[in-house]
């Protein structure tokens, strides 16, 4: 291996030194139970309230509207199940869409088993949904709209502000999964006008195992995890002081670093322009409404997993579809929703860059990618037919 290039930042990110430095004192010194009365507990409680205030400032809401969770998945499950169940007397219809993250789709599937009805809107060839389509799906018994801000596989950005306005006009609770958006594009809950928004730390250099749910004051929601009064009685479990401190620091750095995403976008665009020259290759999803670091390309005639393995042998970390579903045999549900046929979906590669990536990383990817694709195509019984 001549170089190590991590190009799978949508799957997870390395933990930054800043974040480690913010967490360490919570392990070595401020390890008290934040609910305890004595000074050791109060110190921990102060770290948490400081983090909450900092994050609220970054997201444009009040500290009391931030609820820490142990993952984006927990935040998504809480938002969906909690709001659906709290509003079940009003109605049991939910509107969502096909390219949501599995944590949303599976939570909705659970709600369907409980008797809720879910409309999964389709997206266009570019992976985008219009506010008008959402509005047309609204029924008198619709109580919740759940549309992600940015997609984890193809990086497409949904018109959340406009969809939230539709939800508001119909007095329907609006939730958005912004796990992939934060740090790449501005996320301001007031500006977006959403009632709930989920985030996850490990996409922005905090560790895996911390997330949050913004819940606008007045939003009806049941608890997912009941317990001993933490998070104002809305989410049980002794608080993870260290990761909360780490998340606050990671968010600060991520929001501050957004300007640097212009550079990342230029890097991504250069990669795209070169990769597309490989024959029988297409870019999946809109290039216009897209996160700056995301590139998702389909190489005909080969299968994504073997490409990921070959790239790994060259020191490049990338992914086929989303990491969570990489072990599955199904082609990506996101690519299928775009109308891409299964055999092409199988040959897709996701490269996701972050501020850590350099021009040299891009050069190296370009140097290794085409030969790897070529090698697999030469092994493929489909390739002769395609040429």
């Amino acid at each position: 291996m001549d170089r190590i290039v991590y190009a799978d930042n949508a799957a997870t990110t390395s933990v930054s030194e800043n974040v480690i430095n913010a967490m360490m004192p919570c392990f070595t010194e401020y390890w008290g139970n934040p609910s305890s009365l004595y000074s050791g507990g109060r110190n921990a409680a102060n770290i948490i309230s400081g983090a909450r205030e900092g994050i609220a400032g970054l997201l444009g809401c009040r500290p009391g509207e931030i609820y820490f969770t142990a993952s984006g998945s927990e935040a998504n499950n809480w938002a969906l199940k909690g709001a659906a169940r709290a509003n079940q007397k009003k109605g049991r219809h939910i509107i969502s869409q096909k390219t949501e993250h599995p944590a949303v789709l599976q939570a909705l599937a659970s709600l369907q088993k409980e008797g809720y009805e879910v409309t999964y809107l389709g997206v266009d060839r570019d992976g985008i949904l219009t506010p008008g389509e959402v509005e047309a799906a609204i029924r008198p018994d619709t109580t919740l709209i759940a549309i992600m801000y940015a997609n984890n596989e193809i990086g497409t950005i949904m018109p959340i502000k406009e969809i939230a306005a539709v939800a508001k006009a119909h007095k329907i609770t609006m939730f958005t999964d912004a796990v992939q958006a934060i740090g790449s594009i501005p996320v301001n809950v007031t500006d977006l006008g959403v009632d709930m928004l989920s985030l996850s730390g490990h996409k922005i250099r905090a560790p895996k195992g911390i997330g949050l749910l913004y819940i606008k004051t007045g939003t009806r929601i049941q608890n997912l995890i009941d317990g001993g009064g933490q998070e104002k009685g809305k989410r049980g479990g002794t608080e993870n002081t260290a990761y909360i401190a780490g998340l606050a620091r990671a968010m600060e750095d991520a929001v501050e670093g957004i300007e640097d995403m212009e550079r990342v976008k230029a890097l991504r665009d250069r990669l795209a322009a070169e990769i597309i020259k490989i024959p029988h290759t297409r870019i999946n999803g809109s290039m216009k409404y897209r996160l700056p670091g995301n590139l998702n390309v389909a190489f005909e005639g080969i299968e994504g997993e073997s490409l990921v393995l070959l790239l790994d042998m060259a020191g490049i970390s990338a992914s086929t579809g989303s990491a969570c579903s990489s072990a599955s045999l199904e082609p990506s549900h996101v690519l299928l929703a775009l109308g891409i046929p299964a055999e092409k979906a199988h040959g897709s590669l996701r490269l996701t860059l972050s501020r850590v990536n350099t021009e040299e990383d891009a050069d190296y990817i370009l140097e290794k990618l085409a030969p790897a694709v070529q090698r697999l195509r030469e092994m493929s019984p489909l390739w002769n037919g395609l040429q």
């Binding site: 073997s306 393995l309 045999l329 055999e343």
Partner: protein
């Protein structure tokens, strides 16, 4: 998901990749929709598989099982080759992740399908149920394969 060193070796340096011109038997199983296609080419002389090549579209395990399975039957008699089970391929590879065992099934079926083609071309009676579309149960062998795991 973890591949064994053997699997990674056969993926990184696959044996018997390619096609055989004027092959004596060709078998293709799986389908692109499911994400795996294996195509096997046989050269047979005096009931011995003197040469074998494969082309595979599929994941790392698909390529590694193709490589291993072809190695295991190369130079063997047809009758011996027909006794190859997917379980033997999995074992020779030092194991496969559960989600990938179906690749070994494809490899077994691909070789059988190529042999059936050889029989057919030579007018030899046979009772091989050939073909596997990569979707479990479609070939009717699922029970047997599962039993082998």
């Amino acid at each position: 998901m973890n591949y064994s060193t053997k699997v990674m070796d056969h993926f990184a340096n696959p044996r018997n990749v390619g096609e055989i011109e004027n092959a004596d038997g060709i078998g293709e199983v799986g389908n692109a929709t499911c994400g795996d296609i294996m195509k096997i080419f046989l050269k047979v002389q005096d009931d011995i598989i003197t040469d074998i090549k494969f082309k595979t579209f599929g994941c790392g395990a698909a390529i590694a099982t193709s490589s291993m399975a072809t190695e295991m039957v190369k130079g063997k008699s047809i009758d011996d080759a027909l006794t190859l089970t997917n379980k033997a391929v999995v074992e020779a590879l030092g194991g496969l992740p559960p989600a990938k065992v179906h690749c070994s099934v494809l490899a077994e079926e691909a070789i059988k399908t190529a042999i059936a083609d050889y029989y057919r071309r030579n007018g030899i009676e046979h009772d091989l149920t050939i073909g596997c579309d990569g979707c479990c149960n479609a070939c009717g062998h699922a029970d047997k394969h599962l039993h082998n795991q």
